[in-house]
Each structure stands twice: as C-alpha cells, then as structure tokens.
Amino acid sequence: MGTQSGGILLKRTPRSFLVIAGLLALSLVAAACGGGDDSGDGGSDDGGGGDTGTPVAGGNLSYGLEAETSGGWCLPESQLAISGIQVAKTIYDTLTAPNDKDEYVPFLAESVEPNEDYTEWTITLREGIKFHDGTDLDATVVKNNLDAYRGAYPARSPLLFVFVFEDVASVDVVDDLTVKVTTSVPWPAFPATLYGSGRVGMVAQAQLDDPDTCDKNLIGTGPFKLDEWVVNDHLTASKNPDYWRTDADGNQLPYLDSVEYRPFVEETSRVNALESGEINGMHTNDASSIEQVGLGKEAGSLGEVKSDQFSEVSYLMFNTSKPPFDNQTARQAVAYALNRDEMNTVVFLDQMTMASGPFAKGVTGYLEDTGFPSFDLDKAKELVAEYESETGEPLSFTITSANSAATVQITSFIQQKAKAAGMDVNLKPIEQAAQINTALGDDWQSMYWRNHPGGDPDTQYNWWYGGSPVNFGKFDDAQMNELLDQGRTTADQAERATIYEDINKLFSEKMYNVWTNWSNWTIGTAPDVNGILGPDLPDGSAPFPGLATGHPVSGVWISQ
C-alpha cells in the first residue's frame, strides 16, 4: 500500500507519541465542559434548558448530532467525541459525575472514598441497580469494567484508556457492593478520572464479553435503553422504566418516553431541521448555527442553552524551534497585528468568547487579563521592522491548518491582519487527519490548533513541558517547567491557582501561542424542551453546567 510521505511519517513516529497524539485528538474533539453561565440561567425564561414549571413525563426528544459515531459504543475501546458521549450519557451511567462547582461527586456509586494518602479508593455501589438486561450492577461487573478500561480484562483491548488508568495498580472486589481500587501513586483526582468526561460508563457483563457486537449491542444502566441503531441514520432509545433515579420531588426519571439521535454532518442541515421542527434538539459550536439558534430564541421559536466555561481554546501555535518564530519579536508582531475583537465579529459573528489564555472560565488558573496584548497595528509594524533589522530577513511565514471551510476562514482572516502589519503569510490547509502528524514533525512554522479543554490544569503538563514530544511548539522554558512541576506536587488550592495564573501570564509574556477564542457550545431546542442540564445530582448538588462533552437527558422534559 502507498507509503507516501504520510506513511513514512507514521513509521518513524514512535507509537507512544501517536497514542499521546491520539489522546490529544480526543481532547480536541471532546473539548472541555462549558459552564452554564449567564446565558444558561437566561435560558430559564424561554424553557430551553430552563426549569419553568413542573416537569411532566412523556414526549420524545429528536436530537441532531454533529457526527455519527461509526465506531460504536464498546466503551472501553471507544474514542468518543461529543456526539458519542452524548449517546453514551443516554444509555450509560458513570460512577461519578461533576456538579456545578466542578467537584466529582458519587453518581452510580453511592460513595467513592479515598484513604488518607489517596492511594486506595473504596467505591460503594447503590443497592438494587439493574442493567437494561436485568442483571445487577454489582462489585464484580464494576471491577470487570474498570479492568477493561485499564487493559486488564482479557475480552477487551483498550488502548487510550490504558494510559488514562495507568496508575491504577489493582481493582479488587471487597463484597457484593464494594470495590477497592489501589493506585500506584497518590491520586487525589481519581474521581474525575472515573468520570472521564462521561466516557467511563459502566457496561453490562454481557456487552463486555460480547466478542462480535460489543460496539452496537449497548447495555447500560442509563435512563434509556437502546432500541435500534441504523448507522448514519438514527439511534433510538426508549425510557428505562426501572431507572434508579428520581427527581427532587420523587418523580421517576427520565421524563421522556424516548430519545432519537440523528447525525447531521452538515451544520446547515442540522440547524435547518431544528428550525423547521424536524428535530427538537441539537448541539453545535458553529458560529453561524449558534447565531441562528440565538435569533430563534429571540423570536420565541427556539430554546437555547449556551456556555463558555471550561471550554477548549483555539489558537495560532508557533513552532519556536525554527525561524521566524524562534524569535519572540516575530511572535509578538503577530499577536499585536491580530485584531481579535474584529475577528470575533467578522469570523465568529460575535458568538465566541475571545480567549485570554489557555484556561477558560471556571478552570483553575483562569484570568480575565493575562497581559495578552490588545490589537495595536503600529506596534505590530514596529515589531516587524525590529525583526527585519534584527535578522535581515523579511517576516514571512506559513499557517498550516485543517482544510475545512470554517478553519480556512479563520486562517485567512489572520493572514489579512498579518499582511496589514507588513508580514507575508501563506496558508497551507491540509487534511485534518494529517495535522497531528505534521505538528509532531518540524516541517511547519505556525499552525491553527485547538486543545487544552478545561479540567485540572495539571492535565496540560505534557503539552507544555520542555522536551515533551507533544510539546508541539517545541519551547523549553525553565520557568514554565518549574511552574508545571510545582503545580503537580502542590495540594493547596489557592497556591495552585497562583501557580497556574503565573503560567497563564507567562504565556502572554513569551507569546508561545496567539490565543483566539474559547468555543461556546450551544444546545438549540424547540421552545417546549426543558431541563437540558439535567436534574440535581444524587447528593443534591446542582448539575454540571458544561455542554462540550454532552449533557444528560434524564432530566429533559417537554412542556404540554
């Protein structure tokens, strides 16, 4: 088979790099969890995700997804992006779940308790929970699940999760409802890993052991049972009448009778279908679709839940190992030249939040002002001149990016702005699949990129540490390394916040990346659809306001 440059690159790339790159790819698409912020609250007026009135049972949610998950939902082996997670949250439950404060509280588990030094976690299950096939959720099946995720269950061969659960030393059944997880290192953040952005659902024994149809014969404990999955067409699920959850008033969840998911790869078709009433729910992070949903909300014809917290950040990444961006002046020239407010207006239709740094709202280390420069054309021109006198070379560079129309719109905007400041910019749109390989290599100058979803900032360690293979920008900054190490070993929250705020500022100072925006994931619904963010969690805390890794459907209800 053809071993053109792509193949060669793959061959000389060590596999572990690829895996890490894969994790990155996952985080790229899965992104972060946005927060239900202001507009989420505002949503309560029109019913889209709001809590007006008393929930009523019945009805159907027909929901447009941005992609099909053709790999299916054999969860330990899956690589789910937002659409896949959305479906997983419908069929499966996770042991823990985040609340509105981004704390990971017990969900399917009754409690998840650490020992003193965070090396032993005791997971106690709730009594009487049954999978859709009638089998019990007991300690054995949970152990098998966790073993499957970490690659210690013979019937399943995961790869990505092996890395996520690398520090799990053993999983033992204590009694029928108790599982003990021993970790090889102190792991205070283990409950968050058990959630895995909603990917670490508990799968029934029968599905786990299914050699042929594990990916499409879905059996979970979740609020809905799978009825039918026709690839690229629809996936339907009907109410699980024996679901273990009730709402605050003691009403049985879920409210809906059924959910139908339909993949709409075409953004326009998806939002058109919502507007014409063919579906009554959808998710999007496309500016034009968000705008249409917003207009629909204003007109009272649609509901909307929107969020900008915990989002992933998009940015122009510099290759600091080669000219021109091994030169800080050059990097700063681009930063000053980019009119980001205009970018938001023109490219994002004012639907995105422009980023101040890698950490979005809600994330530890977030700062509204990180010292990232505002647009200043004269300063940019000055810097260009400075660069040219310093090096004797004109400042010209190439922006490599994915070749989708939306991405190219962004890069051509950057190109224009850089040109205005006297830089010469070429665009090189490439296949999305080739982008990570290119980034791993050295044959690029700048690249338009999306990464660093919210969550604990320590998860960014590998991306930024000097010498790390996935430090794509190839900077090796002693100060950065020190801060990252400090952050990893510090337990005190306030102290950590300061550390990561320093990292945030350091980025603005050294300008390793020019941040553009955080994604504002938006759920558009028919006006009578409510409860998008879900019911309160079992411990009574309010639901997580995030949207970028899907949202629960157990609390969705339709007004009569």
């Binding site: 939002v271 023109v346 129309a405």
Partner: protein, 327 residues
C-alpha cells in the same frame, strides 16, 4: 441514414469488440442530447444559419466579459479577494462594494471575479485535458480503427461505466489527499480529476465524427494519392471534426464548472480561501438567512455563464450541422 441519436450506439457496439453496448457508448450522446441539443429539426433554416441570433451575441458578450474580468482580475480596481472589510460582512450591495460582502466581509464582486478565474481555469483546463487526450485518442481510433480502436475504445468506455460525478469525486479525493497539495496545486488536481472524467466523452464524440469523415471521398482520394496517414488525419479529417468537438467541449466547460461546485460541497473543490464560484456558494451555504445575496449573486453568475456556454455549443452544432446521430 437516420437522423436520430441514441440508436447509433448499437451499430458501434458491434465494431468495438467488447464495447459496452449502448449503455456506456451512448452516455456521451446523452450528455450531448441533454445540453447541446444537436438534433437538427428538419431542413436547417438558411437564414437561421447565416446570422447569429441576438441571443448568441448576448451569450458571446457575457462570456467575453466574464473571461476578460477573470483574466484582468489582477489589474482591475477591485479589492484583494481575501481582504476583509468588517463593515460589509454579510451586507448587501453598497456604493463601494457593488455586490456587497461575503460572510467575512470580503468584497463579493472581487471574489466572484477572482472566482471566475478559478472556475474558468477548472472548466477550460479539464476540457483541455479531455480534448488533448480524449480528442487525440478519438481521432486516432476513429481514423485507424483496427487494433488500436479495439484496445483503446473499450478502455475509454470503461470509465463511462462509473457515473461521472462518482468518478470525479473519487479521483479528486484520492489525488488531493497527498500530503503536500497546496491551494494552487489543488486546482491542478481538480482539473486533472475532471479532465480524466471528460476524456471518454470527448473521445467518443471525436471518434464517431472521425469515423464518418474518414469514409468521405476526399479522404479516400488523399489516401489513394499516397498522402501520409497523419497528414490526412490532421489536415483533412481534423478540421471537419473540430466543430463537433468544440460544441461538446463548450458544454463540457459548463459541466466542469458546475462539477467543481459539487466537489466543493464535499470539501474537495478549489481550496479556500482561493475563491471559485462553486466554493463561494458552498462556503456560504449557511448564510442564506442572514446574507442570501452571497449564494444568489454567485449562483446567477454561474447560471448565466453555463447557460451561455450551452447556448453557444448549441449554436455551433447547428451552424456546422453537427449531426452526431447520423454520423
């Protein structure tokens, strides 16, 4: 001789060994029938023949203007097609920007003019590939027949067994997925992809016409007089075959321009931000509510251009009495 088209395939099928019989054979004609109606209606009207109608002049004018704009784009007093003016983003026509702005605030008039450059490059480029390869093969197979014909013609016909857009999409997707296909080279890929698709169609037409002309007395006479085959082929046969080729080629340009737009829907047309008519429409497909003028203006330009090409193809075939059906 009959004067009707689609039946001819049968006779030819017999001459081409494993010919695909009328199915694929006649596809070319189907395209012809569809677009340039080459069927003369009764005796050609003498007056009709002598003068170009007003419609033809309009079509010619339109095409000439479009082509001139496309060629002169770099020196015209229009903004750069990638330069953004935030104030005209998604705004309709205004004094400084006659056709308004696109979603990013790029001058739509400028993008349409530059888009014409890419679209014409694709249209004429693809057809040029088709003519160069298909035309030559058609001429040779039609003129020499025999073994060359028996080998080449079925091979060309095979390409017709895959629906054309399916073939084009597959070709372009494969060719464009090479790692280092830059914007400029993507146009080349599209041209080659669509060009390959047009080879059998143009080859067929050329061959059919060559076959007929090669039977004529003056060719036989030339042969008898000992003229070299290639000389006869290019000096005596080719000029007579050109009108048919030209007529189909004009239609082909229109088809290729539209096909590029189809490819853009799949993201493998001309690479943005380089505009083409097709990718302007595809890129703005989410803007119909906010800024319908982007899709509508560009579609109208595309429509009139293709219409003009079709019309001229039709005029040529009538003026030169290109009756493929009877050849």
């Amino acid at each position: 001789m009959s004067d009707h088209l689609p039946y001819r395939g049968h006779d030819e099928a017999e001459t081409t060994g494993i010919g695909l019989a009328p199915s694929a054979m006649a596809t070319a004609e189907a395209v012809g029938i569809g677009i340039g109606d080459t069927i003369p209606e009764g005796p050609p009207d003498a007056e009709h023949k002598r003068k170009l109608g007003i419609a033809a002049w309009i079509a010619i004018t339109w095409l000439v203007v479009m082509l001139l704009l496309a060629i002169l784009a770099p020196v015209l007093p229009i903004p750069d097609p990638t330069e953004t003016f935030p104030e005209i983003a998604r705004q309709g026509p205004s004094s400084g920007h006659l056709l308004g702005g696109d979603a990013l605030g790029r001058d739509l008039l400028s993008r349409i003019i530059w888009g014409g450059r890419a679209s014409f490059a694709v249209g004429f480029g693809a057809v040029a590939v088709g003519l160069a390869v298909g035309g030559l093969l058609g001429l040779i197979t039609g003129f020499f027949r025999g073994r060359v014909d028996a080998i080449v013609t079925p091979l060309m016909s095979l390409l017709l067994a895959i629906p054309q857009f399916v073939l084009a999409l597959s070709l372009v997707t494969v060719l464009a997925s090479a790692d280092d296909v830059s914007s400029a080279r993507r146009i080349g890929v599209v041209i080659v992809g669509l060009g390959v698709v047009s080879i059998p169609i143009l080859g067929r037409i050329t061959r059919a016409n060559t076959l007929a002309w090669s039977e004529r007395e003056f060719v036989t006479a030339a042969k008898a007089m000992g003229a070299k085959n290639f000389r006869i082929m290019f000096r005596d046969v080719l000029p007579n075959v050109v009108p048919a080729m030209l007529s189909i080629a004009l239609l082909g340009v229109g088809v290729a321009i539209i096909a590029e737009g189809g490819l853009s829907v799949f993201g493998v047309g001309v690479q943005l931000p380089t505009p083409s008519w097709g990718n302007i429409i595809a890129e703005a497909r989410g803007q119909l509510r906010q800024a319908p003028h982007i899709v509508l203006f560009t579609s109208v330009v595309l429509f009139f251009t293709v219409l003009s090409l079709n019309f001229l193809g039709d005029v040529i075939s009538q003026r030169f009495e290109v009756r493929e059906g009877q050849l």
